[in-house]
Amino acid sequence: MPAATASQTIGPYWHLLEDPSWADLTRLGAVGERIALIGNITDGDGVPVSDACVELWQASPPASADWDGFGRAATDVEGNFRFVTLKPGPVPGPPGANALQAPHGAITLFARGLMIHLQTRVYFEGEALNKQDPLLASLEPARQATLVARPEGERDGLPSWRLDIRLQGVGETVFLDI
């Protein structure tokens, strides 16, 4: 059987798909600890990535009638994205392993210039499980920090967490080979 179909870039015109309401993962009525996840995406020259499609997928809380765990946001001209979501809880580790992962979400980036999507994660500063999370523990502290969102206080009515993403160079985000 053939291998998986080759990825091709999402290109600059993916907004034809965009439904801005998808940036709010609680849009279906989910109730819980609502937060905003904000960030800025820059390239190897520090230039804002203004045409990215950012996806946020959370296995926690588990899917329900009013919660898909999925959202999509476009970056604006300054490279900023903003999701509204529920703060995730711990996620089971690999099947068979008796370990919990720290609360996290999967962040997937598509853009012009990305032949295949970049995958990373967002963790949350201050979570007790961060210390023993298998992925975080495998990274040196400076690299680890690129995956950990920091609280920015209340903004637009919601406790806000920031995770900036650097595609290349100094402070480059840890991207995953999924």
């Binding site: 059987m1 053939p2 998986a4 179909t5 080759a6 999402i10 279906l28 390239d43 899917a63 032949m115």
Partner: protein, 240 residues
Amino acid sequence: MNQASDAPFRPYAPGSQPPLDAADYGSTQKRHPISALVRLPGGHTATELTAPRFSPARYPAFADLTAPGGGKALGERIIVAGRVLDEDGRAVPGVMIELWQANAAGRYDHTRDQHDAPCDPHFHGAGRVFSDEDGRYRFITIKPGAYPWRNHHNAWRPNHIHYSLFGSGFAQRLVTQMYFPGDPLLAFDPIFNATPDTAARARLVAGFDLDVTQPEWALGYRFDVVLRGRGATPFEEGRP
């Protein structure tokens, strides 16, 4: 073979995917990470093994891209049909497929597209379909035109339709493009040619299909999409 729903997805086959640093595609230059991608220490977890389940009840299918314009979109009407399969050849049902494309003149209905070609008020160019129990999907559209893109001197994208697919695990997430058979621009396109494996590239090109073609109405093309499979490959299983 372990194909349980908690079995990890296989790594991509060598050469089957394009590199992030594709030298001939200029925009990759400042956008690809320099550091090696990091593997999850214990392998795939619920975050990679599960995925959002989109239901047509909440995300309505929209299988005729010419419908919003009352069927008056300009250009060559076409039918595209195919199957969504995994690497073991099994049908993948319930996959949400998002589609978008340029109009017949090679222009997107998008403010950032400034190509000097006419907009078509009867064609927006976005659709959404779901694979059925046999992995089959089908939609109706207009054959998209080629367009220039400034990557290099006299750069033109071959005719293509953009695809976005969600499988049963987020590790299967796929965004790709479908091309058309016999397009002379394929040979010059850095995006199409970035994928090293010749057979993998060839599978991005739809086939003309007389069975999909509807008499007196529209030409038909067939395009199958393969998502990553779960469990060990036979090769890995055969290892001592």
